[in-house]
């Protein structure tokens, strides 16, 4: 009945035949190339068609009178013209202009590696970070497969483009993280505090970054936490070194996730050979809660709070006591809170607010000495963004950070109790201007005032990018970067000023058919570095800003996930030339953290039949220097090169069960990180020494990750039991 009626309507409508106007034309791009698939139609009517491969469109209309002819194609500005329909033929040739779209426009890539699931031009994705062999789930470990970084096996921290590890800062959702690494013993590698699965995206900037970020001489790592979880779920992770359970509960526009984890390396260390004797193997427990709440149409509030406790007791030889074994005990308590709100204020303003709080305590005891360190940090930031147009975006904001650092050292003979509080007030403004889709410039400045150092600093920042072809682009970045001196110096003096580095970065990047090449040249000029003279460390007069240095180099990156079917690899190479005269250096010298050549290749292969992702990673760092006080040349000795071949295997047993195994340094290269020396000479007039080795030559981990959900996959749940 309905169908009949429907057809009746059709046929009735067909009877009304009026004079027809034919509208035809050709759609081309500005350069004359014909455009297929453009939608040409009369506005407010159903009359229209699409252009064919030759760019030609032709359609008829029975309408009469004045209408708007609209021609549109995704990625191009819409064309509109008034036409008069009188029953004849109208010919209109249309030239479409490429629409300006920030997502497709050139982006500043100098010094930047971005990862996210939305962006197209990504070089590394969060999943890449997690599945990189050798990193064993440590974000900072995975970053060390990127160019510009130097692997320091005895530290585990980030060393970027000739910068020390303290020169890199980590931000989560816009807030500074005061203590991003776990506490560890001297000369033993640490790991990041945060689980990489928390983050949906990251930007790793190895230089020339935005004026929004200060207090970092070398690099910033910007991490964005996940938005709403997709559904209620329970995650269980069982590893050979510990276990974690996490649960998420959703409600309308919000969600809460709670997690609890416990790690203990005792069982692992009892079966795997260790280079050191552990009285108590590292043990840690942590609990975290995170909240997500959408506010209004566009706003999102995020809160993350974690509390953790860790401890260990390591037996080491004390060279100052003729190699007598002593216990080095450490316990760490860390509390971290991070909150942020992102959203729109009206049509054209958006605001990002961020706050963080850290309370970190280390209690260390060795021989007859105790060291208690306490760091408290508060960070507040508010950033406003206002696009005056698509091509001119202004960003400005203010930041307050307070840090209190206290250290109490008690030895058998003396006590040092020192403490400082510093408040930093900062403001920045930055404009991004697009001259066209192919050329953009970002110009900004940052002002900082430290009330402890009583210093006011202004840092200009400038970067540009120019697209020379569909796939290739050049990018330049320049800026001044200030950072307050090390906490260990500020404990004893405020008569020094912030250290400064000037960055000059020039980069070329090209992506063709899922193959990316990036080459970067840089020069960094360090000045006002803190120097320490030979006087007692607790005297303010022992410190000055007379240090300086430079770093220059070349970074190369190649990523290809096209050539090998189901395979994906990237190759990084960094060349570094660096000298410094700072800290306790008697003269200009290469610092111990720098190696001239860093090479890394990461390969991943998806075996569909085995539902497995296998990964291999090889790393090489050329010999670094270290100082031998028995020699007259400062930092004149070379340690062995660092080499490591790492493998990993992830097996997707079920949609919700992943089994994972990884081995680092599978061939057991005997890596060494130089030698450490006693403070005083022995009977032979020599400083006794011992070699610095990694905690173990190899490391392996096995893990099982299980996700349980209610909805949609009930069949999966049934099969687990």
């Amino acid at each position: 009945m309905r169908r009949l009626f429907f057809y009746l309507l059709f046929s009735l409508a067909g009877l009304h035949v009026f004079a027809q106007t034919v509208i035809t034309g050709k759609v081309t791009e500005e350069n004359g190339v014909a455009m297929a698939g453009a939608n040409a139609y009369l506005k407010g009517t159903y009359d229209g068609t699409s252009s064919n491969e030759k760019g030609v469109f032709k359609f008829k209309s029975t309408k009469t009178g004045s209408f708007d002819l609209v021609v549109g194609l995704v990625g191009y500005e819409q064309f509109t013209r008034k036409v008069e329909l009188k029953g004849d033929t109208i010919r209109i040739n249309v030239q479409l202009k490429e629409a300006f779209n920030q997502l497709n426009a050139v982006t500043i890539t100098a010094g930047t590696f971005e990862a996210g699931d939305k962006k197209r031009a990504v070089t590394i994705t969060p999943l890449d970070m997690m599945t990189t062999a050798g990193a064993a789930g440590d974000m900072y470990g995975a970053l060390q497969t990127l160019p510009g970084t130097t692997t320091n096996g005895e530290s585990g921290r980030l060393f970027v483009k000739g910068g020390d590890s303290e020169e890199s800062q980590t931000y989560i959702d816009g807030s500074l993280v005061s203590v991003p690494y776990n506490s560890t013993a001297p000369n033993l590698a640490t790991r990041g505090r945060f689980n990489p699965f928390m983050f949906k995206g990251m930007v790793f900037s190895t230089g020339g970054y935005s004026a929004e970020y200060g207090q970092a001489l070398s690099s910033v790592l910007l991490l964005n936490t996940n938005d709403m979880p997709a559904e209620d779920q329970l995650d269980l992770s069982v590893l050979s070194v510990g276990a974690e359970v996490a649960g998420s509960k959703l409600w309308k526009n919000g969600a809460v996730t709670g997690s609890f984890g416990y790690n203990n390396l005792q069982p692992y260390m009892s079966i795997a050979p260790q280079n050191y004797h552990w009285v108590q193997a590292p043990e840690s427990a942590n609990a975290a809660i995170s909240l997500r709440q959408k506010t209004g149409k566009t706003g999102m509030f995020k809160l993350y709070s974690s509390i953790s406790r860790s401890s260990f007791n390591l037996n080491q030889e004390d060279l100052n006591q003729g190699g007598k074994p002593i216990d080095y005990e450490l316990s760490n308590n860390n509390y971290f809170l991070n909150a942020s709100w992102n959203g729109k204020l009206g049509e054209n303003w958006s605001m990002n607010s961020a706050a963080s709080f850290t309370n970190n305590k280390d209690n260390i005891g060795f021989d007859q000495t105790t060291v208690d360190k306490k760091i408290q940090g508060i960070f507040l930031k508010n950033v406003f963004t206002h696009p005056f147009s698509d091509k001119f975006i202004l960003k400005f904001g203010g930041e307050f950070s307070a840090k209190s650092f206290g250290q109490n050292v008690v030895t058998s003979t003396e006590t040092h109790d020192n403490r400082f509080i510093n408040n930093n007030f900062s403001g920045f403004t930055e404009a991004q201007v697009y001259a066209s889709s192919n050329f953009t410039t970002r110009i900004g400045a940052r002002m900082e005032y430290s009330d402890y150092l009583k210093r006011f600093k202004v840092s200009p920042r400038l970067s540009t990018a120019y697209k020379i072809s569909e796939n290739g682009q050049f990018s330049l970045a320049y800026g001044w970067f200030y950072q307050n001196p090390l906490d260990d110096y500020l404990l004893y003096t405020n008569q020094i000023k912030p250290e400064r580095a000037d960055h000059y970065t020039f980069s070329y990047q090209s992506t063709i058919n899922e193959r990316t090449i990036k080459v970067e040249l840089y020069y960094k000029d360090y000045r006002d570095l803190v120097k320490q003279n030979g006087d007692a460390f607790y005297l303010p007069t022992s410190y000055s800003n007379l240090g300086n240095g430079y770093a220059k180099g070349l970074d190369f990156f190649w990523r290809d996930n096209k050539t090998i079917k189901n395979g994906d690899y990237w190759i990084s190479y960094s060349y570094l030339d660096i000298k410094r005269n700072y800290r306790n250096f008697p003269t200009e010298a290469i610092p111990t953290f720098a190696s001239k050549h860093n090479f890394s290749v990461v390969y991943k292969h998806w075996f569909a039949g085995l539902r497995s992702l296998a990964g291999a990673n090889f790393k090489y760092s050329s010999p670094r220097v270290y100082n031998n006080p028995n020699s007259s040349v400062f930092n004149g000795e070379l340690m062995k090169p660092y080499r490591s071949l790492d493998l990993s295997w992830s097996f997707l047993y079920r949609q919700n069960i992943i089994i994972y195994g990884a081995v680092t340094n599978i061939t057991g290269f005997k890596n060494e990180f130089g030698r450490q020396y006693a403070d005083t000479i022995d009977a032979n007039g020599q400083y006794p020494s011992s070699s610095i080795k990694p905690g173990s030559n190899r490391f392996f981990v096995v893990a099982c990750f299980i996700t349980l959900t209610k909805k949609g996959k009930a069949n999966q749940l049934d099969k687990i039991e």
Partner: protein, 213 residues
Amino acid sequence: MKKIILVIAVLLVNMVSIAQKPEFFQTMGETLGQYASCRTVADFQALGNKFQMIANVEKAEWSPLYYHAHCFIIMSFVEQGDAVKKDSYLDEAEKSIDKLVAMAPNEAEVFALQSFYYTARLVVNPMERGQKYSALSGQAVGKALALDPTNPRARLIKLQGDMGSARFFGQDPKTFCPQAKELLATWDNFKPKSPIDPAWGKDQAEGIVKGCQ
């Protein structure tokens, strides 16, 4: 009796709305007829464009947007190779789906399509996107089935997802064959609310049942 009155009432309302918008229904009917002759990406793009044009005029109707998104999703499957192109088609589909969800939040067809869209995103790069988009797709089809457990397209998409993951995980997809047969047997029990409402999918269900034998 009550039911009959209800049916008549619904029919009347439909007829009135068809009568009020004869041009809309006629154009939609003609345009839907063109599905049968679409083969290439360009064909589906032209058809999608047409639906977009209708959607521009009929701001209160969800079906033109539905078919616009549907065409662009199909384009991502027809396109060979280039992942960036596939994503750009899906970006277009996404715009319409977002509008659809806001416009017809109680329409099972909309969420069934959304689930289909997430599956298309997944297919572009299963290794990278598998986890996220299979969850989103499962969620959307769950919503569709909660709104209307009898909707055959929602049931089909759910079934395809279940069979796909069974195949992937080395289990026998044939355990879902009774469900497939049941779906096909009851397919025609579902009556679209109007002649321009979605009606696709029966041949896919037939294909699954054939594969079971």
